[in-house]
Amino acid sequence: MNPILQINQLKTSFFTSSGEVAAVRGVSFELQQGEILGIVGESGCGKSVTVKSIMNIIKPPGRVVDGEILFKGENLLTISKRRIREIKGNDIAMIFQDPMTSLNPVLTIGSQLMETMKAHTKLTKAEREQRATDLLRAVQINSPETRLKQYPHEFSGGMRQRVVIAMALANDPEILIADEPTTALDVTIQDQILKLLKDLQRQQSKSVILITHDLGVVAQMCQRVLVMYGGIIVESGTREAIFYAPKHPYTIGLLRAMPKLNSRERLEAIPGSPPALINPPKGCPFASRCQSAMKLCLTRLPDFYADDEGHKARCWLLDPAVKEMKGRKGHE
């Protein structure tokens, strides 16, 4: 399969007055046609900065320092601004956590929907109106003709997020990037939006990158998962591999930290807190919280160890030499 989007060694930093904050420190992954790829991780792990880098919306003092973002072979980091605008208008669209950041409070929903079409298509006014109505219907908004003439404040939080999704779909993009699209919503509304996104992916074979901190959302939505920690990907694999056979101690810790159904056993908390990325640790970013950490982990970051199914994790414990050494110690 040919990936529709390929990220190679992406590095993004913020140059603050107290020094360089290396938010994304060499991230590589690919998005396959028609899949939902989940990125999970805690605040500050670099998941949002990664997709903002893809969308070319990193604001100073931040910038992409290195790497490649290949959309169908074109590197988004080197092409002209004009071409980027074309791609962002037609091929890749983003849905943000807070719908109000993407909606203009003083314009009607209809004019905002049609604005993107006007900029990127040659549709006539009547065609644009028809398409806007169809889009609202596609995101399950009732009486779309009336709704088009209303302002964002006349919509509830869940409805606004639907409108934002409709706007993202306006020019029929191939890739949808959703950054915590349901975090600000209540669970019953979250459920509606997630089901809508899944339908869109299935029926229109959109490729979706879904960022979330909720492992439940990942289990429900994604085919493949990237786990990020301290600005790097620490593990990636299919949903089943990540949930049923996690390899990285951080992923294992996250899954264990959640309460198990019908159990009152003490939660296995991960001690400590994530590292500051202003002075990123030399070795594995998780080493200071990892119960299996060795001396080596503090000084050197391992590369990925992959199995035949493409399940990869960046942990020294998976190194054949380390495994052998541990095995010998166990026998003594």
């Binding site: 805690e42 605040s43 509830s156 869940g158 409805m159 209540d186 669970v187 019953t188 509304i189 979250q190 459920d191 509606q192 997630l194 089901k195 901190h213 909720d214 492992l215 439940g216 959302v217 990942v218 289990a219 429900q220 949903r239 089943e240 949930f243 049923y244 810790g253 996250l254 899954l255 930290a257 959640m258 309460p259 159904l261 019908n262 159990s263 009152r264 003490r266 939660l267 296995e268 908390a269 991960i270 001690p271 807190s273 994530p274 919280r289």
Partner: protein, 325 residues
């Protein structure tokens, strides 16, 4: 177990004023006739989506709002009528931990000052005794002496929540209201704080009102749970039983909407998303508040508001479906 807190038919309406003279236009019925009790030494979970009135209920209990109607009893005493010194003394028994550890700590105060404040307010004057108490409290919440001279912004979210907990514990309260204490924290930190809250509860025989929207965590921590919708209690009982029986249609919909962190279990579940939005508490539907989204709604649901009734000992549901049969 004896009762520590009793809320009786609590109503909390907020007037919406309009026009030049500020005439009351209508009311936001944030809490509309809620009754429940919490026993000594138990953790009572209050669950519901935004606007259901769970936080308003908590704020009424701790005296931040004066109830429009209804009574709140603490250790048998009606506390809604308390004023002045008597009301102030009540806070020696009752404390609150807030959701946002960034907003609830004064950025200009050191950790020592933050924790010492309630101690001073309730009569501790001797500087060395205060220092000693602050250090003990810091250790109790997993911090240490060296943290006392620092400011809140120097700490991570989880550590700030620990400081907030130390402040709440300072004057040895009997009852602590935890208003979404883990919602703003990362998953790996949530377990740390929940474990600590449980340890403290056991060690000091505390009673908690635990408010959250993360149902799996509420189920884990609580002995009993109350589920609220649009200002009313719809179901209340033992937390394991609620998850098992799910008698109210809203409880069913709420539990069905929580994503399960297990791919196979998630795939096996065939649920239909609950339609529509939560109605506004300004313009509540007649009868049962949930009827506009309920797949079982009958004519009686619009005509009559269902009463919270015991369907078995210590298990209450407010639904015409159940109350009729």
């Amino acid at each position: 177990m004896s009762e520590l807190l009793r809320v009786e038919n609590l109503k909390q309406y907020f007037p919406v004023r309009k026009g030049l003279l500020g005439k009351v236009h209508h009311y936001v019925k944030a809490v509309d006739g809620v009754s429940f009790h919490i026993r000594k030494g138990e953790i009572f979970g209050l669950v519901g989506e935004s606007g259901c009135g769970k936080s308003t209920t908590a704020r009424s209990i701790i005296g931040l709002h004066k109830p429009t109607e209804g009574k709140i009893f603490f250790e048998g005493q009606d506390i809604t009528a308390l004023t002045g010194e008597a009301k102030r003394m009540l806070y020696q028994e009752m404390q609150m931990i807030f959701q946002d550890p960034y907003a609830s700590l004064n950025p200009r105060m050191t950790v020592r000052e933050i924790i010492a404040e309630p101690l001073r307010a309730f009569g501790m004057q001797d500087a060395s005794a205060i220092d000693e108490a602050v250090y003990t409290l810091l250790e109790r919440v997993g911090l240490n002496k060296s943290h006392a001279t620092r400011y809140a912004h120097e700490f991570s979210g989880g550590q700030r929540q620990r400081i907030g907990i130390a402040r709440a514990l300072a004057i040895n309260p009997k009852f602590i209201i935890c208003d979404e204490p883990i919602s703003a924290l990362d998953v790996s930190i949530q377990a740390q704080i929940v474990n600590m809250l449980i340890d403290l509860q056991k060690a000091y025989g505390l009673t908690y009102l635990f408010i959250a929207h993360d149902l799996s965590m509420v189920k884990y921590i609580s002995n009993r749970i109350g589920i609220m919708y649009l200002g009313s209690m719809v179901e209340m009982g033992d937390s394991d039983l609620i998850f098992e029986k799910q008698r109210h249609p809203y409880t069913q919909a709420l539990l069905a909407a929580i994503p399960i962190p297990d791919p196979a279990a998630s795939d096996a579940r065939q649920t239909v998303a609950l339609q529509g939005d939560i109605p506004s508490p300004i313009d509540k539907p007649s009868g049962c508040s949930f009827r506009t989204r309920c797949q079982y709604a009958m004519p009686i649901c619009a005509a009559e508001e269902p009463v919270l009734q015991a369907v078995e000992p210590d298990y209450y549901v407010a639904c015409h479906l159940i109350n009729k049969s």
